[in-house]
């Protein structure tokens, strides 16, 4: 009887977990990947467990397309330069895990430079059992930075929408969150009406993180804010006649840009969450939508059809100067700034296809980086070196991640649902 109950519980859990789970496929990697060995962590004393730390780091580095990572079959507890030179590994990670109390562990790791026979990085930290994944992502970021001189994007989160038809052909929309490696996926908001445009707040504390998104649950588009970690509540923003849509956060997390239509006129407004005040940033009889801030919060980029077709404009908030920035092609939309503010990722029409393109704001050079038919929703990774976007593969939506140079890419797909509308969070603390 008891075992049956457990089985039932297990089935419920596994069904619950199946939603929003994505599979990662590396499509393209660097020609010259960095050869690294990540040892399984040495377990010291009773009760120590490694919770796949080396596997998570290995998967992270492999997915980035910049590493050729291996996990040696036996635990390496002493670094030997000559041995690793013979194995053609340029860096080696070793580590240990010791249990301090029932839920607290001492985790230490060292990154060795094989050819210089030197320690590049050595850290030791106390962690709670629930934080193993997070620490594995932080270590991945540490290794990435120590070896490549750039930030990683591992200790971050993704949000996306999945759409699945039930047995009666009715569509079920889910708002999902997952770690950047697509693991730890959770799906708590589910509707039979469409949801779109989820976007992470810039908060760095896990508990403070929020997602603004658009839902049709009340029969039309409205903007909501979900607090997935702190209180799990959903709040609805003030809504008026017409559409409310296309939310994006100010870098300070205190206000949101959104599109609203008043008497049919679609313009960009900022809504301050603390003062409840709206600031109207555009006033034009054409469509103005898909606005987002520059990283310093001083400019907004938006889509407008004021020239007759959708093109990208930037408004300087101090001078009120509006400049059109796209001149190539008849359809440019949904632009977002790179973390350094120097580039835009946007949707650009090429013949009859919609592709992801990068626009260099200094040179006005436009570079198409994707090759799908209906690619959309581009966002930069937090370190700025990859672009995530949704793509149609034989009418099934998947998420693609492509490096800015186009030389590395991977895909995130679901075996049973369409995946769309990705957004990548900033770094977590």
């Amino acid at each position: 009887m008891k075992s049956k109950l457990w089985l039932a519980l297990f089935l419920i859990l596994s069904v619950g977990m199946a939603h929003g789970v994505l599979e990662v496929t590396v499509v393209k990697k660097d020609e010259n990947t960095f050869p690294i060995a990540i040892s399984k962590f040495k377990l010291i004393g009773k009760g120590a467990q490694d919770k796949d730390i080396s596997k998570i780091i290995h998967a992270n580095l492999t997915r980035s397309g910049r590493f050729n990572a291996i996990i040696p079959s036996t635990v390496v507890d002493k670094f030997n330069t000559e041995f690793w030179k013979k194995k053609n590994r340029e860096a080696v990670v070793i580590g240990s895990i010791e249990q301090e109390s029932s839920k607290i562990y001492r985790l230490s790791f060292t990154l060795f430079d094989v050819y210089n026979n030197a320690k590049l990085l050595s850290r030791s930290t106390r962690i709670h059992t629930r934080d193993f994944r997070k620490v594995a992502h932080q270590i991945s970021d540490n290794i990435y930075e120590a070896l490549l001189g750039e930030n990683g994007s591992f200790n971050t989160l993704l949000t996306y929408i999945t759409v699945k038809e039930d047995s009666k052909g009715k569509k079920i929309y889910r708002l999902n969150i997952a770690d950047a490696d697509a693991m730890n996926a959770k799906s708590r908001i589910k509707h039979s009406s469409p949801m779109l445009s989820p976007v992470w707040s810039p908060d760095r504390n896990y508990k403070d993180k929020k997602i603004a998104y658009v839902s049709f649950e009340n029969g039309r588009s409205e903007v909501f804010i979900w607090h997935p970690f702190a209180n799990k509540k959903v709040q609805r923003l003030p809504h008026f006649d017409g559409i409310a849509s296309s939310p994006s956060w100010h870098p300070n997390g205190k206000s949101l840009l959104m599109t609203m239509s008043f008497k049919g006129n679609k313009d960009i407004y900022a809504y301050n969450l603390e003062s409840n005040r709206f600031t109207r940033w555009t006033k034009h009889q054409g469509i103005d939508t898909e606005a987002s801030y520059s990283p310093d919060g001083k400019r907004i980029v938006f889509t407008s059809d004021r020239s007759g077709q959708p093109q990208i404009y930037i408004r300087d908030l101090a001078t009120n100067q509006v400049n059109r920035v796209t001149f190539s092609g008849r359809y440019n939309a949904k632009a977002t700034f790179s973390p350094d503010g120097k580039q835009l990722a946007l949707v650009h029409r090429v013949d009859s296809d919609y592709r992801i393109a990068l626009l260099n704001l200094k040179t006005s050079e436009l570079t198409v980086i994707s090759n799908g038919q209906l690619d959309e929703s581009p966002h930069f990774s937090p370190n700025g070196d990859m672009i995530i976007f949704s793509s149609n593969r034989k009418t099934k939506g998947v998420l693609s991640v492509i490096s800015v140079e186009g030389n590395r890419s991977y895909e995130l797909s679901s075996y049973n649902a369409e995946v769309r509308e990705p957004n990548w969070s900033t770094h977590l603390k």
Binding site: L196, Q235, P238, F240, R280, K283, T289, T303, Y354
Partner: protein
């Protein structure tokens, strides 16, 4: 800093819940809209010095007995009037033929003052979702604009679904054409 609107929810809406879940329920909260879009090319509403923001209030009309409503709607369906108008790619222009269809709906609404209408705007999947949401609203608004000439605007509500509710899943012009539409849904 020009304050275009200071709208006291209590005074103007007398209890209508714009802020609903968002407010703590107290009626002293104001929605302030500060206009920084003034040096843009004026929009249609640009000349107005103030305007009220409020929930669209569908005119409360005496509800029609369900059977009666079903009868008149099936009669309309059986006639040659089309309940869906189609549009060109990235366009909201209404063709002459479409205008004739719209007039038939105007006639129906004039004959039946108790009936209300939702105009649902849709787009095909090409291009971005948010732009399509805006474009599809424009399509439905264009239809409402024509109907508004006949003083029935207060019985019409516009809803945009963008590309979220396609009729056809076919990824070519035949499918896309079916999805760029405005639907007449009587309530």
């Amino acid at each position: 800093m020009k304050l275009l609107i200071i709208l006291s929810l209590m005074a103007v809406l007398s209890g209508c819940s714009i802020m609903d879940k968002f407010s703590s329920g107290k009626s002293t909260k104001k929605v302030v809209i500060e206009d920084k879009g003034q040096n843009e090319i004026p929009a249609i509403i640009g000349e107005q010095s103030s305007f009220e923001w409020q929930e669209s209030q569908e005119k409360s009309v005496a509800s029609m007995p369900k059977q009666e409503k079903e009868r008149i709607l099936s009669a309309l369906e059986a006639s040659d009037v089309s309940f869906t108008l189609y549009f060109d790619f990235n366009a909201d222009e209404i063709s002459k033929d479409a205008t004739q269809e719209i007039i038939k709906h105007v006639q129906f609404m004039q004959d039946n003052p108790q009936i209300r209408l939702h105009l649902e705007g849709h787009a095909d999947a090409r291009g971005t979702r948010e732009y399509n949401l805006a474009l599809a609203e424009n399509r439905a608004l264009r239809v409402k604009e024509v109907m508004s000439l006949y003083h029935i605007a207060d019985r019409i509500k516009v809803i945009s679904y963008g590309e979220e509710k396609p009729i056809s899943k076919i990824d070519n012009e035949i499918g896309w054409q079916k999805n760029r539409r405005v639907e007449f849904v009587y309530k």
